[in-house]
Amino acid sequence: MQPFIRFACGIFIATQLIACSSQATMLQTQPVELTISAASSLTDPFTQIGKQFEATNPGVKVVFNFAGSDKLAQQINEGAPVDIFASANKTQMANVISGGRVISGTQQIFARNRLVVIYPKTNRAGIKTLSDLARPGLKIVLANPSVPIGSYSLNFLGKASLLPEYTNSYSQSVIANVVSYEENVRAVLGKVALDEADAGIVYTTDITKESAQNLATIEIPDALNTIASYPIATIRDRPNVAVAQRFMAYVLSAEGQQTLAQYGFIPNQEP
């Protein structure tokens, strides 16, 4: 027992010393910590943008809080200490604005996302165009209509049915081919990438480098597509508003926009 207690005390003292020394260094440099709440779909590009921003702004540390936009908005409205909010849709940004938490006028759209049809590269169903999705016998997976992309997918089918080139039975025929409504968009991607389904609908940003090796895509024209806009804004009553606004400017700069484009987002200003 005794050696154990001595050992435990040793550990305790050691951790205290480490804690003290790290506190000391913090006091020396006093880095500015910037807390950013961003939609989960922004995880990859924002992590990279954060690193780039830290590299060009010494003394600034960027901390991310990635989650569903609805959850983040709720946290901010309840007073969570956050400097910047980047939402995956306008609805949740509007919630934070009406909650009085945004510095008015700072909000702006910084990226957009759109739907795309994916199919396995093996393409055993022989899909070439959007019309092929209505061919009987195909196995199509969609996201559940309860998640935004699920209802966007049905919107696309509905809009297409109104056009003569797809005929008005288009939506019905495609829906008859649906073999599963998956719980989220990543599950749709997985089923198609594994070649278990012949086609599916996802966001362009969901197609990662790894999955792109097994997948081919068909663009959905703008007129039929639902384009999701991503707004960003600075939160009020925070100590480092100037730094926060510098970060926002960086996201909107050519460099930031390029990083977003790299991950499949539609940049704000298309060339």
Binding site: S180, E182, D195, E196
Partner: protein, 278 residues
């Protein structure tokens, strides 16, 4: 006598039973209350949420009716298949020692500890149309993923161990001399199994089968990954509950209450049947 540990509370022998009306009992009762209420409260909240009449009305909702029908048929089929293919495995493991027995034994435990999502992905890469076995099945036009057959396969994979474990315990608890005596009297192996082994192991087999069925009825993770989610085809009650939670809470609660009632009734009846045997 070996039991299914999940269903039997150890019988209290009179020598260890403490006299009632001691202060200790009162204190113990008070100490037990928090856990008791903690277990009970969510269930009561669920039941109180929907009036009975509304509950009965909802049963005719096609979305709910489809889920119930599909759940009952698939769990029935998966239980029959588990009995058919699980019993020989259990008998083998209970009666014989051989090289690799430990590995087989561990293998059977595995689905009980695996997260269901792992089971779903494993089934997908095994039986999918590009899967290890599935690619050959696909050559004959048999594609399993997204069909009710996939639901049954997922259920068997995750629930069969419950039956097999109980059956092993049941068979192992039978005195071998009884079987040997029957054999000496000229009974064939199959006759011995039917007339001696099965009746003696019955309580364990029955208890195990019910636990397997109950586990299959609640199966969610492997099913949604391997079989997908389509109302009337692969959407079982747990999947309908999950989707209902996002779309129509009333449906989710109705199905939850139904699952709760069925599970309670089954566990209670089994306990009574098994208790009656003692």
């Amino acid at each position: 006598m070996a039991d299914t540990p999940l269903l039997r509370t150890p019988t209290i022998s009179t020598s260890t039973r403490l006299p009632i009306h001691t202060r200790g009992v009162v204190l113990l009762l008070i100490a037990s209350l928090p856990m008791f209420f903690f277990m009970l409260l969510p269930l009561i909240a669920l039941v109180l949420r929907v009036p009975l009449i509304q509950l009965l009305e909802r049963l005719t909702n096609p979305y709910i009716a489809h889920a119930i029908t599909l759940s009952l048929t698939t769990t029935f089929v998966s239980m029959i298949l588990t009995l058919l293919f699980g019993t020989p495995v259990a008998y083998l493991l209970a009666r014989y020692t051989f090289r690799g027995r430990m590995i087989l034994d561990t293998l059977i435990d595995l689905p009980m500890v695996l997260p269901p999502s792992v089971a779903g992905i494993a089934l997908l890469v095994a039986f999918g149309r590009r899967g290890l076995a599935g690619q050959y099945l696909a050559m004959f036009g048999l594609e399993i993923v997204f069909t009710p057959l996939a639901v049954v396969i997922a259920q068997i994979f995750v629930s069969a161990p419950f039956y097999i474990k109980a059956a092993i315990a049941g068979f192992a608890g039978i005195d071998r001399e009884l079987e040997q005596a029957a054999a000496l009297d000229g009974a064939g192996r199959i006759d011995t199994f039917r007339h001696i082994t099965l009746p003696l192991a019955w309580t364990s087999l029955f208890g195990g089968a019910v636990m397997t069925w109950a586990r299959a009825l609640g199966e969610f993770g492997a099913t949604i990954i391997f079989a997908g989610n389509l109302a009337g085809r692969t959407q079982t009650m747990p999947l309908a509950i999950y989707q209902g939670f996002e779309q129509d809470l009333g449906i989710a609660i109705t199905l939850s209450i139904l699952l709760l009632a069925v599970s309670f009734a089954v566990l209670f009846v089994v306990r009574r049947v098994l208790g009656g045997q003692n």
